[in-house]
């Protein structure tokens, strides 16, 4: 200490020499400076310096052959998965054996998110909200990781992690309220849509600048460690945000300060229009972890069980060992970057369709559920209807009912014969407007002809089209 302080006086506070000088003096150790320090207690036997490098900065062997390390990007870090694309468990010992209820919750969260995304995306197109970002294709990364955490683990996100909040049962009304910026928004209408935040669910409010949450998450993890809270902090970011200086800062701080944090990188192939080939040249983000001294893994982000397993184990060890973990979840951004983006400008529709059809987290989980007998097409239909009902903004429900009543009186003037009729609100949860429709027939057009994908009555059709019908006299 005293010597270092003297050094500060002699060399001054200039960053250049002073810093180096301080560094050298601060690490006396068995490095040959021992004899100049009055306070050293023990003498170490110094072997010949030829045997092993003595540098404070790194410990390794000497090598006398000039060789550059070749970055390995052809066969890089392998991708951990549990299910194949048909939802079959590959290695039974990796099956987390989660109970049916939990897996159904995974499925419902992912599909509800998907439905909400469709509705809010449409809302933006209709001018009812200013902006939206969908999560298509990445639902597995959100739900698999959220399910592996404790409810009190603090979440720092980027902007494409709504499924984490969904899994934590954040009400749909509050998602909507934030997007609409209405009086119910707990964020008080101050930010653009999708900038969610929830104190009770330990989800820190999203901000637009990318990667700024990464060193913040590390600080929060440090505080959690000091508080002996047995909590982990999870920090989500995309592969693009990982290029920011804040990401480097966060990784380095987490490792040097031994913080219980999970860095969760959603590598979805694009940062707006920038493909990964233009974002980095190394082996993705997982390969950076070891450079910082961080335990790292790459997982199949479309395999909700792989995400779950990796996050669960990372959480256990991060808290037990006070060290960071890096999980790179490989996935694909099926949707556009946002409502301000048209991705056909930089990628082919075929590519998008491939991922949508061949490797989608929701489909894979559905296959798993169906093969277990925990789900079937009937339940699928019912759930889809139910989840769309949950979504529908109140004024549309009113309009839908108004149309139903109108058709009861004037149905002869409409091509009802071309449509299948299914009772409205058959399986809906209890809603206040049910009282109104119980009295009479409550039939309404619900589906298009059978040879197209079955969907429930599209809100686009209602709102985009005719004006609300008058009540039957």
């Amino acid at each position: 200490m005293a010597v270092a302080a003297a050094a500060a006086r002699v060399w001054g506070s200039s960053r250049g020499l002073g810093r180096t000088g301080l560094l050298l003096l601060r690490r006396p150790g068995a490095r040959g400076l021992a004899r100049s320090l009055p306070r050293r207690q023990e003498q170490q036997h110094f072997p010949s310096l030829d045997d092993k490098p003595q540098f404070p900065g790194a410990s390794a062997e000497f090598i006398d052959k000039l060789e550059f390390i070749q970055p390995n990007v052809i066969s890089g870090i392998p991708v951990y998965r549990v299910m194949d694309r048909q939802g079959q468990i590959i290695n039974p010992s990796e099956d987390p054996h989660l109970p049916q209820e939990k897996v159904l919750k995974f499925y419902r969260s992912m599909t509800l998110l998907n439905t909400m995304d469709r509705i809010l995306y449409e809302s933006q197109r209709q001018g009812r909200i200013s902006f939206y970002m969908t999560n298509y294709g990445e639902e597995g990364t959100h739900v698999g990781s959220a399910a592996a955490l404790d409810n009190t683990d603090l979440v720092f996100g980027q902007y494409r992690e709504a499924g984490v909040l969904m899994y934590r049962d954040y009400p749909l009304e509050l998602f909507m309220a934030q997007c609409y910026g209405n009086v119910s928004d707990l964020g008080k209408g101050r930010q653009m849509p999708v900038h969610y935040g929830c104190r009770e669910r330990h989800f820190v409010t999203i901000s637009s600048p990318l990667a700024t949450q990464i060193p913040q998450a590390v600080g929060a993890a440090y505080a959690a460690k000091r508080a002996n809270a047995n909590r982990v902090v999870i920090c989500y970011f995309g592969e693009g945000a990982a290029s920011e200086g804040d990401a480097h800062a966060g990784f380095n701080f987490a490792a040097t300060l031994e913080c219980p944090i999970i860095f969760f990188c959603r590598n979805n192939g694009y940062a707006i229009s920038t493909p990964t080939s233009e974002q980095y040249r190394g082996d993705g983000i997982a390969a950076r972890g070891p450079g910082y001294g961080i335990m790292s893994i790459r997982v199949d982000g479309n395999d909700v069980f792989a995400v779950y397993n990796a996050t669960k184990e990372a959480r256990r060890r991060a808290v037990a060992e006070n060290q960071p973990f890096l999980i790179e979840a490989m996935t694909y951004r099926i949707g556009h970057h946002s409502t301000s983006d048209d991705s056909s400008a930089y990628r082919s529709v075929d590519e998008v369709n491939y991922w949508d059809k061949q490797d989608h987290p929701i489909s894979r989980l559905r296959h798993y559920l169906q093969s277990r007998g925990w789900w079937d097409d009937e339940q699928e239909k019912a759930w889809r209807k139910q989840s769309r009902k949950k979504e529908m903004p109140a004024q549309l429900r009113k309009q839908q009912e108004a149309l139903a009543r109108h058709l009861q009186t004037y149905g002869e003037h409409y091509p009802l014969d071309h449509f299948e009729k299914v009772p409205l609100y058959q399986s809906a949860p209890s809603l206040e407007h049910e009282k109104i429709v119980k009295t009479g027939d409550s039939t309404i057009i619900t589906r298009q002809p059978a040879n197209s994908n079955a969907t429930v009555f599209s809100t686009t059709g209602v709102a985009g089209g005719s004006t609300p019908s008058q009540k039957a006299a």
């Binding site: 601060r26 603090l154 964020g187 820190v204 000091r226 902090v233 804040d246 966060g250």
Partner: protein, 392 residues
């Protein structure tokens, strides 16, 4: 050796203009002594310490806070940090080189006293330091981040302006980082040049959501720093590095607070108002004395103390009384904080003004090395501006 080593950094040299060896009486309290040796062969002063451009004026010993101890500025900072860590078990101090005591000795002894989990080094990364500090504060713990020089705060600008300042607003008060305080050495030091002399308060003054504070003395520093740490908003506390050793006064040992957003009228007067902060307060104090002696002009001297949010009322009240305002700061003229004060005062006190508001500031260049004595708004420049205002 001790005297040479006493300054925070190095020797200050005076080029012997005129080639006569001259003994110059060195003014400056405390340890800032000169070591002048005329060269015996030529009679020319070979090595001269630059006269400091200011004289630190200690305030009288405070009576109302209990026992006091003689402390310089960095010791007063250490005392404030010591008090904070003692009172608040969540408080942590971190930054580059703080563990061994800090390059300016502000954290000496704290790691031994409070433990390595509470006083620790971070990697060399200012954006990381501030981001990390925000994260600690988000959990409710107290984060005291040190940036080694204010000149290096810019990598953290995004975290400060886009994140810290906006945390509470953007989340609708669901989240905040109010328990974050950022400290940084600030201002000219005689030889600091471009990257060890800057006064960047104006960049942050433009940012709603943070507080910016600059003390003039050890007593002020301890009380203001404690107020910043306890304030429920993220604060930036700039410490005039040239005062770290040069400023010595009696400072209470126990914690106490000096209020934020309150300027202090340190000398009352009737003819002209002088406003400054940090080191420059001592310059304008001397200017006030010169004005009284040479011109019979009575100056009201105000230390602004908090730059953001600043105490408009005190300054305007003074200008309404005196009719003249001179603001001085080391930071460059254009866009410097004097422009904000000037603009507001002319809005509020237009009809009271007897002369245009005067700003005596650094030039619009990077902070030079060898030309520092010419660059800084010293007492002669301030005196000259004052004279012109009086004669307007």
């Amino acid at each position: 050796m001790a005297a040479l080593a006493a300054t925070a950094g190095g020797l200050l040299r005076l080029r012997a203009a005129g080639a006569e060896g001259q003994w110059r009486r060195l003014r400056g309290a405390g340890l800032l002594r000169g070591l002048l040796q005329p060269d015996s062969a030529t009679g020319v002063a070979a090595q001269r310490r630059l006269v400091a451009h200011f004289t630190f004026q200690p305030d009288p010993e405070p009576q109302e806070y209990g026992q006091t101890q003689k402390m310089n500025l960095f010791q007063a900072i250490t005392s404030a940090l010591d008090n904070s860590l003692a009172k608040d078990p969540t408080a942590v101090i971190f930054g580059e080189d703080v563990a061994f005591g800090g390059v300016f000795r502000c954290t000496v002894g704290l790691r031994d006293k409070y433990g390595k989990d509470r006083v620790f080094n971070t990697p060399l990364c200012e954006q990381g330091i501030v981001g990390f500090g925000i994260g600690i504060a988000v959990t409710g713990a107290t984060a005291i981040a040190e940036i080694q020089f204010a000149d290096y705060i810019f990598p953290a600008f995004d975290q400060i302006v886009n994140e810290a300042a906006k945390y509470r607003y953007r989340s609708g008060d669901l989240f905040n980082c109010g328990s974050l305080t950022i400290r940084a050495p600030w201002g000219c030091v005689g030889h600091g040049a471009l990257y060890h002399s800057q006064s960047p308060e104006a960049f942050f003054a433009h940012c709603p959501g943070i507080k910016v504070v600059v003390p003039r003395s050890p007593f002020q520093a301890k009380g203001l720093l404690l107020s910043c740490i306890e304030d429920k908003n993220p604060c930036i506390f700039f410490e005039p590095k040239i005062l770290y050793r040069a400023a010595v006064e009696q400072v209470p040992v126990e914690p106490y607070n000096v209020p934020l957003s309150q300027a202090e009228v340190i000398q009352e007067g009737s003819d002209i108002t002088l406003v400054a902060w940090g080191t420059q307060v001592h310059v304008i104090r001397e200017v006030a004395a010169m004005a009284q002696e040479k011109l019979g002009v009575s100056c009201e001297v105000i230390d602004l103390r908090t730059i953001l949010p600043w105490d408009v009322d005190t300054v305007c009240k003074s200008v309404i009384k005196t009719g003249r305002l001179l603001i001085s700061h080391e930071a460059p003229l254009t866009g410097g904080f004097a422009s904000e004060i000037s603009s507001t005062v002319q809005e509020e006190c237009f009809l009271n003004l007897e002369a245009p508001i005067s700003r005596v500031c650094g030039y619009d260049t990077p902070f030079p090395h060898i030309f520092e004595p010419f660059y800084i708004p010293d007492k002669w420049k301030c005196y000259d501006a004052l004279r012109k205002m009086i004669n307007y």
